[in-house]
Amino acid sequence: MSAPDIAIDVRGLTKSFGGRVVVRDLSMQVRRGTIYGFLGPNGSGKTTTIRMLCGLLTPDKGEGTCLGYDIRTQAREIKRHVGYMTQRFSLYQDLSVRENLEFVARLYGMPDPPAAARAMIARLGLEGRERQLAGELSGGWKQRLALGACTLPNPQLLLLDEPTAGVDPKARREFWNEIHALAAEGLTVLVSTHYMDEAERCHEIAYIAYGELLAHGTVEGVIERSKLVTYTVTGDDLQRLAAELEHRPGVDMVAPFGGSLHVSGRDPQALEAAIAPYRDRPGLNWTRSGPSLEDVFIELMTRARDNF
């Protein structure tokens, strides 16, 4: 029995396709009213996990609840209270904005579908476009419409699968403002993304790679627990430096960031020893800094691959 303030509570979820394990022993808890970021590289099992949460896939192993409903046996109730926005645009391209929304409203048995659709069109700022075919909308508008369609039946939980992939920065920002507004109304939002800046807009995050949940918590907590020490190097010929440092013991990760280079390691002493010969090289400027979230994730991923 999960506590009433927990929206998602799953343990040991495992799913494989054709003998290939896509999600392995995944457990997570998401509190109600939070925006929970779900991060990880392509093919890490994010979509599969989300589909298991909303009853579109049956886990091979594991159990749990979504809004208090059993994910194995109560898929119908889950579908009634969960809004799922698919990665690929999945509204009807040959229906207009209004027709798509009315379809959803009717399907969920809302009392006045045309009024519900009108209200959502106003909320989305799509007035004047309601007769336009969904397939003709630009990428950003499509995402807004898809979000509108899955929030229309007043769900308690939103599952958004890479909602902002391929959307321009302005539309992305507006989209996130909307998500925060929805969370403020009490909705729980699980959102998967590749973008690090989006991770920082979440209350909590989880990082998944190769089907395994590697880290979770607040952004600060995840960075802190990584125990990663990072040096930022600026100067000349950073490419050559990167090549030289990459395979030295003590250096766990070297990553270029614009005009600078991030050199990170889990063991501070080993890292110091590794970079010592280069610190006095003329033209280089070394500063010790905290790792960025991206440093942490890339390091987690590299380590997970080594263990894989």
Binding site: G55, L56, T58, A75, V82, S90, L91, L107
Partner: protein, 386 residues
């Protein structure tokens, strides 16, 4: 150094690249073809199916046509004539009836194509040399099926009684055969084909409409969203079938209307009955198309399945070739196809004025096929993306 030199070796013909690129395309097409199992099956199945059906099943000079006899007297002569008729191999006596009404019912429901009536006092009249008349009624709604059998009758009259004694030599032939082509005395092929076309066109369009319906949702990605919403497989199926019932109904009305106005097809039976049974037939085909849609991986496969189903419907239903003339196994397959039953229904209602009592068997089969298809569709429908 030539500008094209990078692609073509110096001195080589400039077509080298042409063959290389064509080869690349060709290899790719072969790989894709090999992966596409259903296309591959079509390449093998369609010619085999056509070969077997045209070679073995189809007979434009049909034999063993089901025939009812009405005997008003039991005599050696009568028996000899019936044996001679059976010996032509055009007629196969399947029913013996006692009244004309009984015979009319068999004919209207299409269970027999011919009826032979030996009148009372036939033998006595024959021996007196009065040249009595043997009455034969043929169902001419399919002129091809009836034509050659009726043509063989003259010879029967000449030879049937060659070994019977005591028949006056001077009257040759000793009796008269009075053949009556029922329902379509002018043997107009339009009267046969136009009602048949109603069924054929409906089969083709209805199958394709629903065969695409589920695969289209999967291919366009809308299925994922649909499955995440609270809707059941039965609700999806009915929602997809019902609109096309109306479309099919309009189509049927159009063809029948045109048949009546342009070709003078008679409407002897009840239009309400025709409308009701046409709706059943339309729904059956939509259900079968929908079933294909739940089985196919993509839209191309769904269309291919529909075509594979359409072909036997055309060839074995009695639309193109007489049903009664096909061998037993082909008739069994034909009995399992909706078009076979609808052809009987539409011809019987329009041309014979049949009522529901005559057609309840065909209606029951259509209903059965529809329920089987719907059951398969609902159980095969994937509620999840597993």
């Amino acid at each position: 150094m030539s500008v094209l030199g990078a692609a073509d070796a110096p001195g080589a013909a400039p077509t080298n690249g042409f063959w290389r690129r064509t080869w690349a395309m060709l290899i790719k097409e072969f790989i894709q073809l090999r992966r596409d199992r259903v296309s591959f099956a079509m390449i093998i199945m369609i010619p085999l199916m056509q070969l077997v059906l045209f070679g073995y099943a189809i007979n434009t000079q049909p034999r063993d046509l089901p025939t009812a006899v009405l005997l008003h007297e039991r005599s050696d002569v009568g028996r000899a004539i019936l044996a001679a008729l059976a010996n032509t191999r055009y007629f196969r006596i399947t029913h013996e009836v006692r009244t004309e009404a009984e015979f009319d019912r068999l004919m209207a429901s299409g269970q027999v194509l011919f009826g032979i009536e030996v009148p009372a006092g036939f033998e006595r009249a024959l021996r007196r040399g009065d040249r009595p008349a043997l009455l034969i009624a043929g169902d001419a709604t399919d002129p091809v099926a009836a034509g050659s059998a009726l043509g063989a009758l003259a010879q029967v009259a000449q030879t049937a009684l060659a070994y019977e004694r005591g028949i006056p030599e001077f009257s040759s032939p000793p009796f008269e055969i009075r053949a009556h082509a029922r329902y379509n005395p002018a043997a107009s092929t339009q009267l046969n084909i136009v009602p048949g076309l109603v069924g054929t066109i409906l089969t083709m369009t209805m199958l394709i409409f629903t065969a695409l319906s589920v695969t289209r949702e999967i291919e366009r990605g809308t299925m994922e969203s649909l499955l995440s919403m609270p809707i059941t497989p039965i609700e999806i199926m009915l929602g997809k079938i019902v609109p096309y019932i109306i479309v099919g109904f309009l189509q049927a009305s159009l063809i029948i209307g045109a048949g009546v106005w342009l070709f003078g097809i008679p409407v002897l039976g009840s239009l309400a009955l025709l409308a009701g049974l046409s709706t059943l037939f339309i729904t059956t085909n939509l259900s079968i198309g929908y079933t294909f849609s739940t089985l196919a991986q993509n839209q191309l496969q769904a269309v291919q399945m529909a075509m594979m189903f359409f072909l036997p419907n055309i060839l074995l239903s009695g639309f193109m070739f007489p049903f009664a003339g096909m061998p037993g196994w082909a008739q069994w397959i034909g009995e399992a196809l909706p078009l076979t039953h609808y052809l009987r229904i539409v011809r019987a209602i329009l041309l014979k004025g049949a009522t529901f009592v005559d057609l309840h068997y065909d209606a029951a089969i259509l209903l059965g096929l529809m329920l089987v298809a719907m059951t398969i569709a609902v159980t095969r429908f994937r509620r999840t993306l597993d």
